[in-house]
């Protein structure tokens, strides 16, 4: 049993992403509709934790708004001002596919601040590990622009906070969201103290990013790993990638703290990914990261919620991860598991194996594994 912190705030679900048609702003030929990144995709995750009773076994961590100074650990003053102006006005797009509603500025600061507080709780020993169910997400945001539903780079901000304010020298970020963690990669591309690893569906979003060859630059060369898995990858591919690349790299790199950018949009029922992960698979990946964390940093893991657009399946993936993190069995079984697990090609396929082998070679070149 671990003492697992949990961050959530009612206002996370009040961030208004408008009546997008999926992920595009409405307006002919796009009929207004339901935004993929709507509150229910997050709220129902928390709902299931509460209804199952697991919430009572977790340690609540109260989020706070990150200060402007903390936000500017990553973002430019101009961009922060822009978001604030949109939020104080009628709302609008913060860059690319990133709706800011009225009051979203404060909620976005509360999102970043939630991850900071999770870091404080874990680094101070108040918790063994933590999950921050924050919204809006962050891993696509760049220093000077919002992208892909992400206003502020929650993980980047919290990582820089830890490097600056806490006794943290080295940090690893493992991003299992189905999309490339471009914002995090860019932020730390030249930084040898932050190892960034992104598993994502090959060339989905942002297009042109997340290549195997993007290994970091300057001092950071060798400290960025991309695993652009082909579409249709299942639990076998993810586990192989974690066992052969992620875990060994973590053990080599020896971070003081491990972030997981935890999108559940690689699940078998996600509209914005083509992968086939399921709840048990996510628990297994969690176990792999936990074992590595136990070895290198006393188990210190902060998971930060990112994407995940199946309002009905995200909750079961999230529950499984939190059961694993905390060692508590909620007694709830995932009713979708058999459907997802039964899909063909859940085991590692040759093309997936080839990709992982290619990444292994690169990691070996940089003596990461």
């Amino acid at each position: 049993m671990k003492k697992t912190g949990f961050v959530f705030h009612e206002l996370y679900t009040w961030h208004d992403t408008g009546n997008y048609a999926g992920f595009l702003a409405p307006g002919f030929p796009l009929q207004p509709g339901l935004h993929n990144e709507n509150p229910e995709t997050k709220r129902r995750f928390n709902n299931l934790l509460v209804a199952s009773g697991l919430s009572n076994r977790l340690t609540p961590i109260e989020p706070r708004e990150a200060t402007e100074e903390e936000i500017m650990l990553f973002h430019t003053p101009d961009y922060v001002r822009k978001v604030k102006a949109l939020s104080d006005g009628e709302g609008g797009d913060a860059g690319e596919l990133t709706h800011v509603g009225k009051g979203s500025y404060e909620i976005a600061k509360l999102s970043a601040g939630g991850v900071i507080e999770a870091v404080n709780a874990v680094m101070s020993g108040k918790c063994d590990n933590a999950y921050a169910l924050v919204r809006p997400p962050g891993h696509h945001a760049d220093a000077d622009t919002g992208r892909g539903f992400c206003i502020f780079g929650n993980v980047v901000i919290a990582a820089r906070y830890a490097l600056k304010h806490l006794n943290t020298k080295k940090i690893a970020v493992v991003d299992w969201d189905v999309h490339h963690g471009n914002g995090t990669e860019t932020a730390f591309y030249n930084d040898p103290n932050v190892l960034t690893i992104s598993l994502h569906q090959d060339n989905w979003y942002p297009q042109g990013r997340g290549l195997v060859a993007d290994v970091g630059e300057g001092d950071g060369e060798g400290y960025n790993i991309n695993l652009p898995l082909p579409p249709g990858s299942g639990v076998g591919a993810y586990k192989a990638a974690f066992e052969r690349v992620v875990a060994p790299a973590l053990r080599t790199f020896q971070p003081d703290l491990i972030f997981v950018a935890s999108g559940f949009d690689a699940s078998a029922f996600d509209p914005l990914g083509r992968q086939m992960m399921h709840s048990r698979g996510y628990a297994e990946l969690t176990k792999i990261v936990m074992d590595a964390a136990d070895d290198v940093c006393g188990g210190k893991i902060v998971m930060c919620h990112e994407g995940g657009y199946s309002a009905y399946y995200v909750p079961f993936c999230g529950l499984a991860v939190l059961e694993q993190l905390s060692g508590v069995n909620s007694g709830v079984e995932d009713p979708y598991l058999d459907f997802a697990a039964g899909m063909a090609k859940q085991d590692l396929q040759p093309a997936q194996n080839d990709l992982i082998s290619e990444v292994e070679s690169i990691c070996q070149k940089y003596r990461l594994i």
Copy 2:
């Protein structure tokens, strides 16, 4: 330019599938939610046809309720009675994952009758081809039970109607819905006059069905083709399958009428499929079928709507198919196309090629291609 018939009825969107959590009935641990097969997934398809002006260029075909006798061209009297009883009462499940709401019996008959009228329009020459945007869908329904959101087997009923009442000797059914067309396969498994071809994601739904080895039985041996594409298949795989298997088989079989069981759940944004089709891809598949139809049966195609669960993307897939069927350009461009087309592995992959080659061999064995 073709004269393309179009079936739709307001009541198709009144079929009540309840507050399912995705595809499972609510009840702890499943919070009530939005059914994957909710009315908007079909209504918005029609909305875009209307808003774009394309509707005005199509020939409306008025649906009618199929008679009980027509329904029993496929279904058992006991099952028909069961559906009617549920529909007249409080509703309930017609078998497996198939909610019947109050009044769904009449709507299901209207759905089957819509396809019958589309067949009448095409076989009588009133239209060159037709698209029946009906609901509930049909291709999973068995003679004695509902399955997978399907109450009555619309295509099976309409095909048997055509064989019995119209001058139709041989029929082909091409099912590009991402799930296996098990109901249609079973109905015609021993029938050499109906060639059934299903392209589907390997072993998804129903699990254990849709194997390459399932080639028909008795007189029907060699008249059933399954193409269980691996997850992650894109436009390249679909086009190869159509060019190398579907089109040659149609040309060999020489049907008098071709049905397309048209689910758009193989699209790149569908929650219930892991494939990567897009609007232009569907237009290209349509073109391949149209060319074959022109060669063998005067272009007679009846497309019958099946699945497709992306409320925002189904409309653009549907619009593209109807533009292709009718030869009319609506002027609307698919704003999601670049996102879908840009995903890696849209071209034919080795594992996909292997599967298609395997099916080619079987078809050659049966002299279908």
Copy 3:
């Protein structure tokens, strides 16, 4: 039997009013929610007409976008530019409680143009009367600002169009929307050729408007009638007001064309009104107006849809009105009627009678009745 025109357009339901919490823009302490003036409140009205078969008995009138010149028959160029700018940009508020979404400018022009075409159809004799189910609504809009969900003043524009372009000398506007028809009143306040009559809940929206004493000014003095009915007024009050004030005034005024600003928010189930009208009541009011119209202007009535926020009850009110206008019985009975009709105090109450008597006196003073 009358030949009744009907205006509707799919795009009317694409006007995006955002995730308001009722009628206020979201932002703490207002959780994003469902706008009272959401598309379903109009779409379901049309849905029931279609599903009941009544649509087939009406004469469809194709709407077109009103030209900017036509819009400026009422609105200032600055305001038109403002709406266009919001619509071309990220959207925003056009004044007071009036969200403009992306593309709402074109839809608002289509709304105004729909009423113009209804007028053309009726004045040309193509139809005997007409109902324009348009959206966004119009009766609160002022020349230089949007108000109360209304972007452009559809009735004002269409009335001025008729006065300018058609053989129409005098027009009456009867506004039975539960809110005051302030935009229409203001537009014609000095105009003796347009008689404006508004029945509304006393001092609801806009507050401070719709007083009995507001009788018009200058040449228009005596040509504006306000009937600010107390909250809780039922069918008895409405019928008395129509019989004792509206019909006599119409007969005295002798308009060439009668508009009805037809909000159904005075219904017994409306969240934004406190009155108790029901479907049969609306049919009776319609009959009273039709009889007067038959006497004075050959039955020429154009009803223009305004408010009405009960997504489930507006359809039955609308169906009843269209049955009355057309003389066609759809066979559908209102399942809510007994509930509404059974509420106490549906008959004329003393305080309601007093108000009507007061208005009668004023009308007599101006020799309107």
Copy 4:
């Protein structure tokens, strides 16, 4: 400052009321829609308490499922079995307008048990007073049938529990829900130890109930008060009724515990009521009851949530009541207050005064005031 208990449970919002069209089951001519009694009408109330920070100032009371024995303090075994059977099966109607979904039986027991635990907390002195935000509601349920969205009579059960198990000799129930508290009235109609007072819109639901003349029978004669306020009644009427009837009767009757059956469907924006209450008005009524409770029973009040169908306005009414109960100022102002307060006839009207006077006479006859 009072110590105010608060009952809520995530599962209250999982009770599935189906896709009703308002309050009627779907099926032609009723298009499926949104049930008036949908989860958001309750969830958003709790959301605002949480978001405003008020929740942190309340004492959480953990609900539990009432036992079958406790449920049968009111309900017949046959009815309990019927509800369980529907809940274990496909769901259905428990009587009249009362949908039971899968698993609703357990949730309904949790609702009743929540009120029981609120009573335990208040009677034991753990809290000064309490609000039970439970769902499904209860005040329409009869011993042997569900009615009006109510499965089990939460207040009746909790009151009988208190009479049987706690040191409670006399109980008063004040029902300010806009509909008649028929279930509670019937349960205690012959019981002189339970004073039942219902304020409701005259003859709305259930029709034919809630007459002034219904004063109780047998030993209970004189212990039931009905105040059937006319539609359109505002804060003035409610305050007069509370000051002139409710408070004096409470002081005379001297209960050991006061229940408030707290529906917020008398609010100015409710679709299922025609009254004009607002948040400040509810706070004032609360104050009147609190003052009486301080005088007679040490302030012991248990409020039990009933109806209230404005998803956006119920939260502000509820917040105001909880601020009053607890003496805590959340700092949140009701943004709808000016709209509601500005409606004409918010002050006591003659017809309302007459009704209250009539009830005063009856109460005087029975020496209740």
